[in-house]
Symmetry: C2
Subunit: 297 residues, 2 copies
């Protein structure tokens, strides 16, 4: 039995995910703060709601995909917010990447109204959202996750239930710690190679298949050599996630010195107006320190 | 036409490499400072020389595989050192991981005697040496590298000529910067996951296939969760290579702040007597800071 799906937040990620739901034949109700972003979805067959509360009243399952903790807070608590439409049996699926601690609080509020919550942050970028090939890290009860799974399969190819509510957000932070640590290593390695006068492509070929190998080296290394800073994921979004990582790591007492270093380096790049470039532009922080530039345009 | 091959340095790496040369049918002369280490090779068909100079006189091609720059220096310059046996047409292949700057100096000395030098540090560990599956990063002239290639194929599956003399050592440093950067990221990520109460195996499964993925995460992550600190590569050897990396990066003016951080962390672990553990024991530095321990025995 297919349930009607609400979708709140039609940014570059949410629009792709909602489109995939519609394409797979689901009955979808959408809402977005900027109303014009609903138009292409309505043209594709979705119904436009007038508020998050209305989405909640119309749909037993509501997906949220917004930017940060305060945005989810606003979706839930503003006038005509989603909590006004949640009732017994409602399931809220939050695909945003937000604070694990705040997530637990939101889930408790929804549970108080008889509903349930799963946190299901995604990775794979706008391309993954459009193609329906996202990885989804899911926290919540077994029953809620199994109820949500067939709908998440509309846009996700790897859906991993990692534990109770909040653990999806924690695993997303684990993911981001790994991503920026790899990015720092690739940045240092390529700048050293450049400074040493090495052929960067031959260098990549020599090291990428062994213990030095990573997704970041294989995928962003060649892009860095070409000085192509178009974002798969912007510095501004990366920095938002690192702020969540630093807060969460602080709260559990876990030192993340490399991640903290990368945060400071991205902060310097944001100050230079580079927040819209891809996260692989991290190397520019080292370039500015050294006066050396990787690759050639 | 097959040339006679000398092999100087029969440590855990060199013994495996020399064995593979003998197995592939090459005519091999060996020398090692501790004579008893020559015995298994002689039993397999090698001839034992009495000094590096004699190896040079007997063999047109001489491979060296020792630990560090001073060891190569001793092989070349001690009484009855290899330079005493080098003559016009000699080819010296240095498989040690040593200073790129010192390498250029050694190559010039050999060139002054009419010989040539290639630097060919390896990665893949003792297992790769024994199985003949090493990756070899090679610096030197095209002619010298092509002359050496059929012999290196006895123990190497990926042989990449990256540039002139010294560039093999530089690329090995690039490799080590990437290795320890990945190791730092994996250490921070797993300790945060542990501190957050996550299931570590489910967490690994959720993140390893995407942008967070690396050889280190896939191969050392599970070992760290099991607190198996047996070395693929020891902290002491890693630290020797990081000292080379810090010196080389300083000499070319390239900042490597993450690598420098890892060096300090490994230094603390060496002070605790952990230098013989695997380089993935890096996480223990974070554990000591936090009182949190990854995984369970």
């Amino acid at each position: 039995m297919s349930e009607r799906i609400g979708f709140v937040g039609l940014g570059i990620m949410g629009a792709g995910m909602a489109s995939n739901l519609i394409e797979k034949g689901h009955d979808v109700v959408v809402w977005n703060r900027t109303a014009s972003r609903m138009e292409p979805l309505v043209a594709a067959g979705a119904v436009a709601a007038t508020s998050p509360a209305e989405v909640g009243r119309l749909c037993p399952i509501v997906m949220i995909c917004v930017s940060d903790t305060p945005d989810v807070d606003a979706v839930l608590h503003s006038d005509d917010g989603l909590l006004g439409g949640v009732s017994v049996g409602s399931l809220v699926i939050d695909h945003s990447t937000i604070s694990p601690g705040a997530t637990v609080g939101f889930a408790e509020e929804v549970a108080g109204l008889g509903g349930s919550w799963i946190d299901a942050p995604v990775s794979g970028g706008s391309e993954g959202a459009a193609k329906g090939t996202l990885s989804i890290m899911v926290g919540g009860s077994e029953a809620a996750v199994e109820r949500a799974r067939p709908y998440m399969e509309a846009f996700g190819t790897t859906i991993t239930h990692v534990g109770p509510v909040g653990s999806g957000q924690q695993v997303k932070i684990v993911n981001q710690i790994l991503v920026v640590g790899s990015q720092l290593a690739v940045s240092e390695a390529l700048l050293f190679a450049q400074a040493s006068g090495l052929d960067l492509e031959a260098t990549l070929d020599a090291v990428k298949g062994g213990a030095a190998g990573s997704w970041m080296l294989a995928n962003r290394g060649p892009q860095m050599i070409e000085r192509d800073w178009r974002p798969g994921f912007t510095i501004d979004l990366q920095q938002k996630d690192l702020r969540l990582a630093l807060e969460a790591a602080d709260s559990v007492g876990s030192p993340i010195p490399g991640t903290a270093l990368v945060f400071q380096m991205y902060r310097a790049l944001q100050n230079e107006g580079l927040g819209g470039e891809g996260n692989h532009a991290l190397v520019k922080a080292l370039e500015k320190m050294s006066g050396i530039e990787v690759g050639s345009p």
